[in-house]
């Protein structure tokens, strides 16, 4: 039995179920990160002193990671555009680049975390580090999750392209929406934690 409204839009919403589903999920994600941003504001405004992020964290590493994540967003959208033009091999190239850029982000983050942990700067060290690890840790989990989904569409999930290219294109678009959201969260995390 086929999944209904995976390709054709529903008459009541004018959207496919997948499209409305991913946007509702992203709305819940906004509230999840919103709760953590609110916690950050509460802890920071309630603290007698608060360090500037650049006195503890590495701004060059984070700037590099910001550029990496923005680049991965453009390769993701280019992967979807390639499918829209029925260029499957180009899609694989861009999707592969997106996954690799995600990996670069995580590797840089690993070095950043290692540096702090070796210096004894663990979450229990200060409120600043506690909220830093919480926010960036949750964000890293999202990067890893997005990479896993993208890797599935790059590899075994790509079989769908042969049998139902429109559905596959929609699925890649939905995966892309999640990936862009992960980029969007980092765009706010970067100045909040590293520069202020």
């Amino acid at each position: 039995m086929d999944i209904p409204y995976a390709v054709e839009a529903r008459r009541d919403t004018g959207l496919t179920n997948g499209k409305i589903g991913i946007w509702l999920f992203l709305a819940s994600e906004v509230m999840l990160f919103g709760a953590l941003f609110a916690s950050y504001i509460l802890i920071r405004t309630g603290s007698p002193s608060w360090p500037r992020g650049d006195t503890i964290l590495s701004v060059p590493m984070a700037t590099f990671n910001t550029l990496v994540l923005i680049s991965s967003s453009v390769t993701m959208v280019m992967a979807w555009a390639s499918l829209m033009r029925h260029r499957f091999e180009t899609f694989r190239m861009y999707m592969g680049a997106t996954i690799l850029l995600g990996l670069v982000f995580l590797v840089v983050k690993y070095f950043e975390y290692s540096e702090h942990i070796h210096a004894g700067e663990v979450p229990s060290h200060s409120n600043f580090l506690a909220i830093y690890y919480t926010l960036t840790g949750l964000h890293m989990l999202h990067v890893a999750g997005g990479m896993a989904v993208n890797a599935y569409f790059w590899g075994p999930g790509a079989k769908l392209w042969k049998t139902n290219p429109e559905w596959f294109t929609n699925r890649v678009e939905h995966s892309g929406l999640f990936w862009h959201f992960v980029d969007l969260v980092w765009i706010f995390l970067f100045p909040t934690l590293y520069l202020l």
């Binding site: 499209k19 509460l42 910001t66 923005i70 967003s73 765009i187 520069l195 202020l196």
Partner: protein, 105 residues
């Protein structure tokens, strides 16, 4: 290649040009964010500037990479409602401090 296919291809080409422009803008704005932070403005000014640039960048990502600018009204309504709730959520701790109930009150 028929006319519809040509139009579709031209449409995607136009989209790709927009993606490249947005990408370049995001790169420049990232450098601007880091550059501004080096001036060591007072905290309220620094927060306002950093969040202003981040909001512009976030809007570019949402509107063009996530195609929110050309999305159906239902999606825009869902996200607008989410943004309202998000703003209430982050405003609550600020209000708690500013009305004298916080530690510094």
């Amino acid at each position: 290649m028929d006319t519809t296919t040509t139009d579709h291809a031209a449409d995607i080409d136009r989209h790709v040009r927009v993606y490249i422009t947005v990408f370049a803008s995001l790169m420049v704005l990232t450098i601007v964010t880091v550059g501004v932070s080096r001036f060591h403005f007072p905290v309220p000014v620094a927060v306002t500037l950093a969040l202003l640039v981040a909001t512009v960048k976030g809007t570019l990502v949402a509107c063009y990479f996530m195609h929110l600018i050309s999305e159906k009204k239902l999606i825009i309504a869902i996200m607008a409602l989410t943004v309202v709730f998000f703003l209430v959520l982050v405003a609550l701790p600020i209000l708690t401090v500013s009305d004298g109930l916080g530690i510094h009150g």
